[in-house]
């Protein structure tokens, strides 16, 4: 038959073709660092359970320049992860009050509000 549909292969570099895909990949990459930091926290919990010496050793490792750098990167990426997550929430949970849709900004604002409150509680509990 004369038909010969042509299938274009998706390049490995597909995500470089447009800014929005690069931004998306960066967003996805941040989850790697969030995951790594969670692993770090779990190690910390284990060290805590093992007693003072283990805990102090853990904190000492965390204070090394390389470790501090790593933690700063994780903080930045986790913050970016949270910011992009919050920005997307109005799409996943459209809320309405008495028939009128609640504006997206308000929904995002509520997330930041809750985040701030929880952060405050954590900081107070940590004695800061």
């Amino acid at each position: 038959m004369s038909r010969r549909p042509y299938i274009r292969k998706v390049k490995r570099s597909w995500w470089l073709s447009h800014r929005r895909y690069v931004v998306y990949m960066v967003r996805e990459l941040t989850s790697l660092f969030v995951g790594l930091y969670c692993a770090l926290l779990m190690v910390g919990l284990v060290r805590l359970a093992q007693g003072h010496a283990a805990w102090d050793g853990f904190l000492a490792v965390l204070s090394s320049p390389l470790a501090v750098l790593f933690q700063l990167i994780c903080l930045a990426f986790a913050a970016y992860h949270s910011v992009t997550w919050f920005a997307l929430t109005p799409k996943a949970m459209p809320l309405a009050l008495r028939g009128e849709p609640i504006p997206a900004k308000a929904i995002v604002g509520m997330h930041y509000g809750v985040w701030a409150v929880i952060s405050l509680i954590v900081l107070i509990a940590a004695g800061i």
Binding site: M1, S2, R3, R4
Partner: protein, 566 residues
């Protein structure tokens, strides 16, 4: 789609194919905006709808068909609601209706300003429920198969491969739409080239009332994009270059109170388009890069109402006219929109050729007569689509299958025609050249106002174009998705149908509805209260005969709008 669902529901054991040269959601119904008429309000009744339609059609409507139509309309629209059509609603939850041109009481069901879009998608999506509906998308039907005076199927090109396929059928329904692309300025999409009309015409079925071509008063200059009548239903105004609501000078006033049904901007489409023509002659239209226009003003409706009821009008005006109707009026002019005429059918959607049925814009029952009222067409699709489905199903069950040999012969003949096109190497004409010639002559000769000399000129030019068409040179000789071939075939159909239009118009020496003659400005019921019937005669021009209009309870009277209609 509606006919297919009707057949599938009538008898799921019937083998049923739907052929279309485009995917179903591309059909031009998708562009219809305003709404579909059906009596629903307590202060409305079927009689009013009947009388509005008959008088709107300047008494050329077959009144038995109109009676049936107004009766079936509310049921069909309700069926659409059950099938999920997102009709706009009253606060109570009941279906809402809006005022529309030429209607005494509001009865136009609407889905924002995309009623046709929602209806088409509802029908297409609903059709997916029925396993007996088999679709053949992007199949271009070229000819009907006829054996022993009976329609026995069709031949079509499978566009993706170029293969020709013969479909043997006990009954065939044509619902291929109108032919607005014959004209240069039209709201119609590329696909509206009258293929179905031409196919029936060539098979010996007369085309009825072809001279009645509706100009929609408010299309964008240049692109012809439709600005729905709904914008006038919501209270929009038409003003000339002096800011004057000029329609009051043409027996459609007084201008206030406004909005008021059947008056001013809610008058019938033919009158509004004709008023434009007069304003243009008087030099009171504005100049745009695409010719003269008047202004459609909806600013006074306010942003909120526009966004709610007319969001697409706003978007279209912004994108294609560079105008935000919340702040500025929109330049508009009459553009060809609808074909009142079409394949001659009776009240059961049957054509004179046994086994062949037709419904929708390609058919002429006639319920629209000499001028269609806005929002009757979308309802027409449902009522006569369903009716065609039922009639065709009944015919198929009552009649034997047809022989394969005749189908083969018919298919071979159709294939020969196409092969000749492919073999021709020294054709001297191009599709675009012939198309331009057709556009120029039909617009100048058979536009809003016509005269004997302009029409005869057009008839001669069209005959010449048809001769030249025999020498059209195909540029693309491939098999796979050959759109050049499709355009050549579409042009052939358009030239044939254009001839029917011009000759029917030349023969009708009166003015009625959308057919206006400068040399015969009055309506002549004594001689012309009849339907014209154009019969194909191959390379010769068509003959035009007449048949009676069915008049039951509404005797022809004067069409009155404006204050006189109150």
């Amino acid at each position: 789609m509606r006919a297919a669902i009707a057949v599938a529901e009538a008898d799921p054991s019937l083998s049923l194919c739907v052929l279309s040269k485009v995917y179903p959601m591309r059909s031009h119904t998708v562009a219809a905006e305003g709404g579909a008429a059906g009596v629903i309000k307590d202060d409305d009744n079927l009689d009013y709808h009947f009388h509005d339609t008959v008088s709107g059609g300047d008494w050329l409507c077959d009144q038995d068909a109109v009676e049936l139509f107004v009766n079936m309309a509310p049921r069909e629209l309700l069926q659409m609601e059950h099938w999920g059509c997102p009709w706009s609603r009253e606060p109570s939850g009941k279906v809402a209706v809006r005022p529309f041109g030429g209607m005494k009481i509001e009865r136009t069901w609407y889905a924002a300003d995309q009623s046709g879009f929602h209806m088409l998608h509802t029908l297409f999506q609903t059709s997916l429920k029925y396993p007996s509906i088999r679709r053949f998308d992007e199949y271009y039907s070229t000819d009907l198969l006829v054996e022993d005076g009976r329609c026995t199927g069709t031949v079509a090109i499978e566009m993706r491969s170029g293969r020709m396929v013969a479909f043997q059928a006990k009954a065939v329904i044509i619902a291929a739409g109108g032919c607005g692309r014959i004209f240069p300025f039209t709201t119609n999409g590329a696909i509206k080239t009258g293929d179905g009309m031409a196919m029936a015409y060539r098979a010996g079925v007369p085309l009825k009332d072809m001279e009645f071509i509706q100009y929609h008063p408010t299309g964008l200059p240049g692109t012809g994009i439709l600005m729905t009548e709904g914008s006038r239903g919501e209270g929009g105004l038409l003003i000339n270059k002096d800011g004057y609501r000029y329609l009051q000078d043409y027996n459609l006033g007084p201008p206030d109170p406004w909005p008021r049904l059947k008056a001013m901007e809610l008058g019938p489409r033919d009158r509004l388009s004709q008023a434009f023509w007069h304003e243009q002659k008087k030099g009171r239209t504005i100049k745009t890069p695409h010719g003269d226009a008047v202004l459609l003003d909806i600013r006074h409706l306010g942003e909120k109402k526009i966004n709610e009821r007319l969001p697409m009008v706003r978007e279209l005006a912004q994108s294609y006219a560079g105008v935000d109707p919340v702040y500025e009026p929109i330049p508009v002019r009459p553009v060809v929109h609808y074909t009142m005429g079409g394949i001659h059918t009776d009240i059961d959607a049957a054509t004179p050729l046994p086994g062949l049925f037709a419904a929708g814009e390609c058919a002429c029952v006639s319920i629209n007569g000499a001028n269609r009222l806005g929002s009757n067409s979308l309802t027409e699709l449902l009522v006569f689509g369903a009716r065609a489905g039922h009639s065709a199903a009944a015919f198929a069950k009552a009649n034997p299958m047809v022989s394969a040999t005749a189908a083969r012969e018919g298919a071979d003949a159709a294939q020969e025609r196409i092969r000749d096109l492919f073999l021709r190497k020294t054709g001297s004409e191009t599709v675009s050249g012939l198309r331009k010639g057709m556009h120029d002559t039909i617009e100048s000769g058979a536009g809003i106002y016509r005269s004997e000399s302009s029409l005869q000129e057009t008839c001669r030019t069209l005959a010449d174009l048809r001769l030249r068409y025999e020498k059209v040179q195909l540029q693309d000789h491939s098999n796979v998705f050959n759109t050049d071939l499709i355009q050549v075939l579409e042009l052939g159909c358009m030239l044939q149908v254009a001839e029917a239009i011009a000759h029917s118009a030349a023969r009708r020496k009166e003015s009625r509805g959308s057919h206006q003659r400068l040399d015969h400005p009055e309506r002549d019921d004594a001689n012309y209260l009849k339907h014209s019937l154009a019969t194909y005669r191959g390379s010769e021009p068509p003959t035009v005969g007449y048949c009676d209009v069915v008049i039951t309870r509404s005797k022809p009277a004067e069409r009155v709008y404006g204050g006189a209609a109150a």
